[in-house]
Amino acid sequence: MSMFNRNEKDPNTGAAVGEKPAEFVPAPVTAAAAAVRPPQPNVQHAPEVAVAKSVGPSVISKALKITGQLESTEDIRIDGEVDGDIHGVSVTVGSGAKVKGSVYGQTVELAGTIEGKIEAKKVILTSTAHMSGDVIHQDIRIESGAYIDGHCRPGTNKVDSKPAPKPN
């Protein structure tokens, strides 16, 4: 009887015991994962962004200050501070951005501050632009409100020397 009772109970307890390890097994894993995790969340969110942005324009955020030279064969957007020359294709200097140095490109759009020189085929100075220095251009647009302290002159542009197509 007692044997049978035991046998009858055993499967239950056995099942309970069998379940418990099943419960216990994942527990150390999550505990281990939790132990490993703390340093990761700081870095973890990066990959998607990193993969998504490996191509496309470069963005210098307002939190970034660069002391030195930038050279790119693609577009550059600057919202931060650059102390040095910038060579790009299309260079946008956002409002609040500050550049000390020369900016070269096919197109330069300025809404912030440049202390130096702009040399580009097409130059756009928006209403918030603050330009201290010369502008060498082939095509320029200056919006009302822009500040310029310097010469604006059409340059023999070495960036692209091919003549503009003549209108027939």
């Binding site: 942005k53 191509v55 470069s58 307002k62 970034l64 200050k65 790119s72 064969t73 693609e74």
Partner: protein, 137 residues
């Protein structure tokens, strides 16, 4: 002597946390010769020759960095030649690092090529770091 006047290289974390507005991306086509100083996030996919200070730095798989890095979090998927001073360092499987890695926690993925010493330092070392140690063998 100038230690008293200089501020720690590593900034305290920003109160408002990380936002996209503070994230800088240096694309594959961009080369920077000079120093970068950011209190936000920085993603390097091009090449940088110079010292980098940031809250969080990611060197992408096409990225190349030659110089010293001071950051809270560093993640390397590309190449780096220089020294890392960071609390949390993650080296992905495609990483190629030569130099030294001063860290508090480090993760190295299988496949990463590391030719570097990895000295451990307490968090306070990074928080109070004002001047990088001289390069000496």
């Amino acid at each position: 002597m100038p230690v008293a006047t200089s501020r720690p290289l590593l900034r305290p974390p920003r109160a408002e946390g990380r936002t996209d507005a503070l994230t800088s991306h240096l694309s594959k086509a961009l080369t920077v010769k000079g120093d970068l100083d950011s209190d936000g996030e920085l993603h390097i996919h091009g090449s940088v020759l110079g010292q980098v200070c940031a809250d969080s730095l990611v060197v992408g798989s096409s990225g190349y960095l030659e110089g010293d890095v001071i950051a809270r979090d560093v993640r390397i998927e590309g190449r780096l030649a220089g020294r890392i001073f960071a609390l949390n360092v993650t080296l992905e499987s495609a990483a190629e690092v030569t130099g030294r890695i001063f860290h508090n926690t480090i993760t190295v993925a299988k496949g990463a090529r590391i030719d570097a010493r990895m000295p451990w330092r307490p968090p306070s070392y990074f928080e109070t770091l004002e001047q990088l140690p001289e390069v000496r063998q």
